[in-house]
């Protein structure tokens, strides 16, 4: 190769490298913006800490298929979660806390930790209650979140407080305990207020941390304190009954299963 040729080669190489570097500069923020954690992106149980998870997840979707409740979905660009990664929206379909954790063993890359076998040790997120809207906090008898919590009386406990307003009732106030809350979101799904008064967020958006210089005098007192697919039943009973002669007629006249005699059950 002549000197000119060599120079040309070097120049060309430098050009390519430069172009690559420019591309890299544009490419990096794209990756970073996708690969940062979202407050709402609840991961499957057994997911490694977010940074490791992001690095390992191949976005193959095998965990999505393995979940018997179709809880998980792979994020698309417009979703509030890093693209292609599995996440769930508790208010739609929460994690049902399967004892055999079927989503974890199928993950090929280990983004879901194979060592994770005890579902109660999941820490997908932490529940947080809006104390102004929560019906139980207002003194009504609700506590649905507490009743349905799979780790009831550990993750959610009831703080029973005299109701000064009526002076003859109590408030059964649900309290979240971060030591046990798995972040499954069953509570968020079931909460009867129009926008859920209890919701699960990633830990880092909820929890504070004491400074290392401060040593609490009585250990254990410092806990975080915060004050299956429901649809419109009418649509469930009357699917596609828009053409019925009058409300209820479509349901009453529908054949099969319940016609005359009822659901699958003759002895």
């Amino acid at each position: 190769m002549s000197a000119t040729d060599r120079r040309q080669f070097l120049i060309r190489t430098a050009q390519m490298a430069g172009a690559a570097a420019c591309a890299g500069v544009l490419w990096s923020p794209l990756v970073r913006s996708q690969a940062k954690a979202s407050a709402h992106a609840l991961r499957p149980p057994g997911a490694l800490p977010e940074e490791d998870f992001m690095a390992l997840c191949l976005k193959c979707g095998q965990c999505v298929k393995a979940c018997p409740f179709e809880t998980l979905k792979l994020a698309t660009v417009a979703d509030d979660a890093p693209i292609g990664t599995p996440y769930f929206i508790a208010r739609e379909i929460p994690c049902e806390m399967c004892v055999d954790v079927p989503c974890v063993p199928v993950c090929p890359s280990g983004a879901l930790d194979r060592e994770f076998t005890d579902i109660t040790k999941a820490r997908m997120g932490l529940a947080v209650i809006d104390p102004e809207i929560c019906l139980s906090m207002r003194g009504l008898r609700c506590e649905v979140c507490w009743r349905l919590c799979p780790v009831r009386d550990k993750a959610i406990t009831l703080n029973i407080v005299h109701n000064e307003g009526t002076n003859r009732h109590v408030r059964f106030e649900p309290v979240i305990n971060s030591e046990h809350c798995t972040g499954c979101g069953i509570c968020e799904k079931a909460c009867p207020t129009e926008e859920s008064s209890i919701r699960v967020l990633r830990h880092k958006f909820v929890q504070g941390r004491l400074g290392e210089h401060y040593s609490p005098s009585s250990d254990g007192d410092f806990k975080l304190q915060d004050v299956r697919r429901g649809t419109d039943i009418a649509k469930e009973l009357n699917p596609g009954d828009k053409k019925q002669a009058a409300p209820g007629a479509g349901y009453f006249n529908r054949r099969g299963g319940r016609d005359g005699i009822i659901p699958g059950s003759t002895p």
Binding site: M16, A17, A19, A20, A23, G24, W27, S28, L30, V31, R32, Q34, A35, E51, D52, M54, A55, L56, L58, K59, C60, G61, Q62, V64, K65, A66, K73, L74, A75, T76, V77, A78, D79, P82, I83, G84, V106, C107, P108, S109, G110, R114
Partner: protein
């Protein structure tokens, strides 16, 4: 003589005055025969997606196991055999994370298969973007749109290098987060989102801006497979004797640089890892000078030939 003619010239072989060119047969049978590799490729590309979709949405099983779970980034065949995209796994490793055995075994299996078949067989026979790129290319040629500018095809190797460097720096698999191939197959299987615009983008780019823009110049996955493809055991064999240098193969080839007559004549085959084994050159050659064959057989043939000298 032009460079091309020099290249095409064979010592002791006169350039024929009359050169035949490819003629599309009139009969349907003939047409199908011409399209045979295209049909096979589309069949496999679509089947892969169909198997994924059917398993996910309809729970298809065989041998009492789900047929094919996951997507082309990583999957499981019959619930047992892991398969992974080796490039994706490589990126994960480059980001200093060691994935679980399943991913590594899966990558190894896929890699082994493509080492045998030819790395870029993925591009022509599996990759879903190929269907988009081919369509764009066909339209572009039909409408006579020319590339707006030239970019060296080696750029994709820089993209490959950049992918690995960025993976290292950023700590995540850099290409997997933006890959339009992954977007396409993942979202076709799991649900299409706004990101599918990337696929549309490739189509428009290939149609209006640059011929074979994405696949031929930028795709780092293709670059990866090209590197893997060096050891391909199935190659396009070249019979120099019958070749008239009509150049129809070069016109059709999506990677024309792999069709160097000198090299092909020298080795009896297309040796470049960049050859996708798409078979377009084979069906288009009016002299049937090209065919698929095992590398081993080609070698032995060529050895035979050189022993006995050229036949012309």
């Amino acid at each position: 003589m032009t460079e091309k003619q020099k290249d095409m010239a064979v010592p002791g072989k006169s350039v024929r005055a009359e050169i035949r060119h490819f003629q599309m047969p009139d009969t349907l049978g003939g047409k199908l025969r011409v399209w045979r590799f295209l049909i096979a490729r589309r069949f496999i590309q679509v089947s892969i997606l169909v198997l994924f979709m059917g398993t996910l949405h309809y729970g298809w099983t065989l041998f009492n196991q789900l047929v094919l779970t996951g997507n082309m980034s990583s999957s499981r065949l019959f619930g047992v055999i892991p398969l992974s995209d080796p490039f994706a796994v490589l990126q994960v490793i480059a980001s200093l994370q060691w994935p679980h055995m399943d991913a590594l075994i899966g990558a190894a299996i896929v890699l082994a298969v493509y080492l045998l078949l030819g790395g870029r067989v993925f591009c022509a026979w599996a990759c879903p973007v190929n269907m988009v790129a081919d369509l764009a290319n066909w339209l572009r040629e039909k409408w006579g749109i020319r590339s707006m500018f030239i970019v060296p095809s080696k750029t994709r190797y820089w993209a490959l290098l950049l992918t690995l460097i960025l993976s290292f720096i950023l700590g995540v698999a850099a290409f997997e987060w933006v890959s339009p191939i992954a977007i396409m197959h993942r979202e076709l299987i799991y649900g299409i989102g706004l990101g599918f615009i990337a696929v549309l983008g490739i189509f428009i780019f290939d149609l209006l801006v640059m011929a074979r823009g994405w696949c031929g110049h930028f795709c780092p996955l293709g670059a990866f497979w090209s590197v893997v493809g060096r050891t391909a055991q199935i190659r396009v064999a070249f019979d120099d004797a019958s070749c008239t240098r009509c150049g129809d193969c070069v016109k059709e080839c999506p990677e024309p640089s792999v069709l160097s007559f000198k090299e092909a004549a020298q080795h009896g085959m297309v040796r470049s890892g960049e050859c996708t084994n798409c078979g377009k050159c084979i069906v288009v050659c009016p002299e049937n000078s090209l065919s698929f064959n095992l590398r081993a057989c080609i070698r032995s043939n060529s050895a035979l030939r050189s022993e006995h000298g050229s036949t012309s």
